[in-house]
Assembly symmetry: C2
DNA sequence: AACGTTTGACTACTATAGTAGGTGGCACTA
DNA sequence: TAGTGCCACCTACTATAGTAGTCAAACGTT
């Protein structure tokens, strides 16, 4: 399983666990709403800079976003 | 410390630990020689796709590349 | 039925990741 | 001296990450 797919799944799970919409998370992370959607649909491979701001917005360790066994 | 910097340091340490030159690592990972140099100099933020191929080439877990306490 | 919220999907754009070729410097070895 | 490997650095290019606006489908709520 590609790391991009692992990330996509964990991102969605963590976002939903915090009760945030894609748009709310995007605002918190300083990203675009459409882009968060693309990440969850595995259409984009985020840079580590983006990984960092998303982890910060979700208040989790970056590791949780790319763990293959789920966050 | 920015995640990009953590990655840069770990990449160089792991590459040197395996005795590879930047060019040898680039060839193994299917990347450009100059680009590996830029990553180690913190001039670029790699995507998770790139993270994955580098980890594969170095035969380490992706987590080791972004660990803040060193690989 | 109608309403608001969320998300997928599309187009078009800008910023940056990643490629390719080169120069020059530094260390080492013949 | 010459010759190699390694790396910083440069320019220019192509591919893709990331932004912005919009439309419509799916959902629950009243």
């Amino acid at each position: 399983m590609r790391l991009r797919s692992v990330f996509a799944r964990n991102l969605r799970l963590l976002r939903q666990a915090t009760g945030l919409s894609q748009e709310q998370l995007a605002d918190l992370a300083g990203l675009d709403r459409n882009y968060v959607g693309k990440l969850e649909r595995e259409e984009n491979s985020p840079t580590v800079d983006t990984l960092e701001v998303l982890a910060l917005a979700l208040q989790v360790d970056v590791e949780k976003l790319i763990r293959r066994n789920g966050p």
